[in-house]
């Protein structure tokens, strides 16, 4: 139950948070609920067009973003947590504000004029309105003495057209710092992760991802905290380091650090692609969470694979197939 009157926002999850980063979505909604912010999912939202529409067809990118703007109810800000979606939505809004032809097209397509009062916000900007430290104390803050590398990626950078917009760098340090965690200073906080090149050119992405993860470990971080679900996935699936440090979404540590809710069930369970080597050593709430996220057994970790003999390999394969079968059964029953 929220401790204070809730204010409602329209929430645009975007494709990544709705699928590959469910743990991000769940912890975000849960954290916001505890902070008194009700995230009302934008009804019938569509893909923002992502880098693909932006790369191949600017008009399509504008139109796809505009349909979402046209669905937003009046009087509530439209909030996105994905940096790329935020960028696409804000860029469409920028065109609407400054181009008569864009406003005309919007009105023709969606049958109503563009709402100039609509406020589009990144989730980070909501944090400025919440007294997190007080919330953490009220919720029985758990000791989280850990050092983290804040990783923003490059999608929160503003393109020239949006240069007068808000700058979000430093928010993760300030927020998690206020909850007792220690941000390390490092050189990779806004390095590109390789983004959509991950599918067609993993040969480019893997060295970038490895450099980021190694950079964080060398700087003394115990984990990386990401601001972007796309970066997060690249760091997880394209890393080839032997024992990478664990990677968490900002919303997960926010949820955990504020003692808002320890995510030991649901999508967080066993979701780490790489099981960190020192998973058994971490203490406190972070240790509990880390072990839950890593899963009970090291089925997918590099340690397990390194030591695997034929029997172990067979067992791993059997477990993977069991996981796939379970997912298929689960999704068919809900599909």
């Amino acid at each position: 139950m929220p401790a204070r009157p809730a204010f409602a926002v329209s929430y645009f999850p975007g494709c990544s948070l709705a699928t590959t980063a469910k743990e991000n979505n769940q912890s975000l909604i849960e954290s916001c609920r505890k902070m008194g912010i009700e995230m009302v999912e934008l009804a019938d939202w569509n893909c923002c067009g992502s880098s693909s529409a932006h790369s191949l067809d600017h008009r399509l990118a504008f139109d796809l973003a505009c349909r979402n703007l046209s669905l937003a109810p009046q009087g509530r800000p439209l909030v996105a947590a994905c940096p790329s979606c935020t960028l696409r939505l804000k860029h469409a809004q920028h065109l609407l504000q400054n181009d008569e032809a864009a406003r005309k097209r919007y009105a023709e397509l969606w049958g109503r004029p563009y709402d100039p009062t609509l406020s589009i916000r990144h989730f980070f900007s909501l944090l400025a309105e919440v007294d997190l430290e007080r919330l953490a104390v009220e919720n029985g803050r758990q000791g989280l003495e850990l050092s983290f590398a804040p990783y923003y990626g490059c999608m929160l950078n503003r393109p020239p057209a949006l240069r007068s917009g808000a700058n979000y760098y430093g928010i993760m340090e300030r927020t998690l710092g206020g909850l007792g965690m220690r941000a390390i200073t490092w050189g990779y906080a806004s390095r590109c992760c390789g983004t959509f090149l991950t599918v067609a050119r993993p040969d480019i992405v893997t060295p970038k991802v490895n450099a980021i993860l190694q950079g964080a470990a060398d700087a003394g971080a115990e984990c990386i905290v990401t601001a972007c679900a796309m970066c997060h996935m690249n760091l997880e699936v394209r890393c080839t380091l032997k024992n990478p440090i664990p990677i968490f979404h900002f919303s997960e540590l926010l949820s955990l650090g504020g003692a808002l809710r320890v995510l030991s069930d649901g999508p967080a369970t066993g979701r780490l692609v790489h099981r960190p080597a020192d998973v058994g050593e971490a203490s406190g709430a972070f240790g509990v969470f880390l072990r839950a996220a890593a899963g009970a057994e090291p089925l997918f970790g590099h340690d397990a694979l390194k030591d695997a003999r034929a029997a172990v390999a067979l067992e791993i394969l059997r477990d993977r197939l069991a996981g796939v079968t379970e997912t298929v059964a689960d999704q068919l029953s809900h599909g």
Partner: protein, 84 residues
């Protein structure tokens, strides 16, 4: 050849274009991206079904890929944006 030139030429560039096309096809079909289908279609077109199978299996097992697409209800709204 400088690195920049190497990345602008050859199969890598065509592969990227194909990937973007598959993403847009998915948006046209469902209104949202269906990642597993995008990957399968991209790889079929490239006749390269074997690379990344481990990553795919791992992500599937960890519930990071949905087998069925998430759809926009009024998908006609989105389809009409693709009509030239």
């Amino acid at each position: 050849m400088p690195d920049g030139d190497r990345h602008r030429r050859g199969d890598g560039c065509a592969a990227l274009l194909n990937f973007h096309r598959e993403v847009l096809n998915s948006i046209e079909r469902y209104g949202r991206t269906h990642k597993i289908e995008i990957m399968m279609r991209y790889k079929l077109r490239k006749l390269d079904l074997l690379s990344d199978w481990q990553v795919g299996l791992k992500m599937l097992a960890k519930r990071k890929l949905d087998l069925t697409p998430s759809r926009v209800e009024r998908v006609g709204d989105v389809k009409k944006l693709f009509e030239v």
